[in-house]
Amino acid sequence: MTELNIIICVKQIPDPEAPLSDVSIDAENLEVVVDAPQVISPFDENALEAAIQLKEELDGKVTVLSMGKKLSDSVLRKALAAGADELILLEDNGFEKLDSHSTATVLAAAIKKIGSFDLVLAGRQAGDWDSGQVGLILGEMLGLPCISLAREITVEDGSVIVKKTVPEGYERVKAKLPALITVSNEVGELRYISRTRMLKMMRGGDIPAWTAEEIGVSDDAIEKMNIASLTTPPDMTRDCQFLEGSPDQQAAALVDVFVSLR
């Protein structure tokens, strides 16, 4: 087999690790407002790491796709700095708050425009809406074998072998390429990227951005999420009783608590 052509879909989201105090709800506009820097969604970073490892092992090309109304190419250039070869933005005023089906529609259209590929990777779910649907719907739209919750991916002789998480442990499954794989965190964290490398990528060339029209997605092919309401979660706080003293005294007090709960 010649080179491996991998397309990976990543989502730009506000940092999901942002503390509660940085998050507010705009109930009127049905928006979660997060006062935190934008990042690549964590599971998508895992998928990116898996893609780059496959490329290093077998040679090939990693193309990163990201969709949104207004994307920050400085956030997404991180993918290039990590080792991806090409970044393509799918940017359009209509690409906002799309439902999973519509997001997959846009990605499928972009992938068809790209043409040939062996693997499409996506994170198992995005860190903002946690829906976990786009990857699998995309696989259906492209008519590909779908493998979910991958923790290890190997490619040989035109097939992909994946360790996927199942309730009993893991299952090794094999599928013919091309295939779609959703990736879980067990594949490992995205590699460390040095500041020098990051800065070099920031000064790199222009990043192509495709509009809905350029990939042939009409307005009536996409719909926004149908949100009825958005509210703050119920208060979770409790009155914490701190156990004071030396470690031995604290331990003794805690054992008293355990005894009372027995």
Partner: protein, 329 residues
């Protein structure tokens, strides 16, 4: 008449407990609307399980029996489910947010040209247009969002341990077979092997002791295991879990993870050691009956949701705790 259909899962040749929760959720919907409630079961042979399901009082139980459905295979189950839905034409389809539900849900939604809301913690019916509303936490638990379900078949996956399980009801419902046409060629994945790992049934433990980044390395978890053993003498099932940080660092396998993307639990006692309390972790344990936190940083979030707190290095306090427990309990 409109029909609310539950996809029932079969576990070790018996009814998966989650299906009782789905029946509870389904009954809540159909009692209000007067719609029909039914359960669909798939497998090699599911007669006994179908009878067990019928005893909870759904209006009907459908079974799809086929040798190729003996073990879960997403492609084959999907094909069977697609055909069954074409025949039953449910207005609402409820699935567990389980491995099976997570894998089949999005793909089935595509095939039925429907839309799916995943991981719902509440289900209601819109009083104006009669559509199903699925409530789910979003933004790592920082917000609660209600989605209106679209499509002819309104589809949701339902989070476990949220809906109270149904109690047995009038076992008058009929059991009907549905025939499906499936063959091996529909499966595009070849299963090479299934490797069983010690499954960590964290959601069944009475007490869960969890470690996080604050443990510093994986050796810290050995100390938590010792603590679990000491507590096990008095509290029955005591298990060790962890935060996502501990998984990301490779200290624990992901099936130990408590939180939004791990297991969501509500044990009698939850002990968080060296866990700062990121929102996505809190979502997974905040409904525990009593929460105890040990952390060196008094300002961290975990103490905000705790009943009891100890501000101290765990390496100081946990050994003292084990020693004292062995003396007293």
């Amino acid at each position: 008449m409109k029909e609310v259909l539950i996809l029932g899962e079969v576990k070790d040749a018996s009814l998966d407990p989650r299906i009782l929760e789905l029946l509870g959720a389904g009954k809540k919907l159909t009692e209000a609307s007067g719609d029909k409630l039914s359960v669909l079961l798939m497998g090699d042979r599911v007669e006994d399980v179908a009878e067990a399901a019928a005893s909870y009082g759904p209006d009907s139980v459908y079974k799809i029996e086929h040798p190729l459905l003996e073990r879960f295979n997403a492609d084959l189950w999907l094909a069977a489910l697609e055909q069954a839905c074409a025949e039953i034409k449910p207005s609402i389809l409820l699935m567990s947010h389980s491995f099976i539900g997570m894998e089949l849900g999005p793909r089935l939604a595509y095939r039925l040209d429907s839309r799916l809301t995943t991981d719902c913690i509440d289900l209601t019916i819109d009083s104006e247009d009669g559509r199903l509303l699925g409530t789910k936490p979003v933004s790592g638990g920082n917000a609660i969002c209600v989605f209106k379900c679209a499509g002819q078949t309104q589809m949701v996956t339902v989070r476990g341990n949220v809906f109270p399980p149904a109690e047995s009801g009038n076992a008058g419902g009929a059991i009907a077979s549905i025939n499906v046409t499936i063959d091996k060629s529909m499966s595009r994945l070849e299963s090479l092997e299934i490797v069983e790992e010690d499954t960590v049934a964290l959601d069944k433990a009475n007490v869960v002791i969890s470690g996080g980044a604050g443990l510093g390395d994986e050796d810290g978890f050995e100390m938590l295991e010792e603590l679990a053993e000491a507590l096990g003498k008095s509290f029955g099932s005591v298990m060790v879990g962890c935060s996502r940080m501990a998984v990301d660092k490779g200290w624990m396998s992901s099936d130990h993870q408590i939180g939004l993307t791990g297991t969501i639990i509500a044990p009698d006692i939850y002990v968080a050691v060296g866990i700062s309390g990121a929102i996505q972790h809190l979502v997974g344990m905040v409904h525990s009956k009593k929460i105890i936190a040990i952390n060196t940083d008094p300002s961290c979030n975990i103490f905000k949701v705790a009943d009891y707190g100890i501000v101290e290095d765990f390496e100081q306090v946990v050994p003292a705790l084990i020693k004292r427990l062995e003396e007293v309990l």
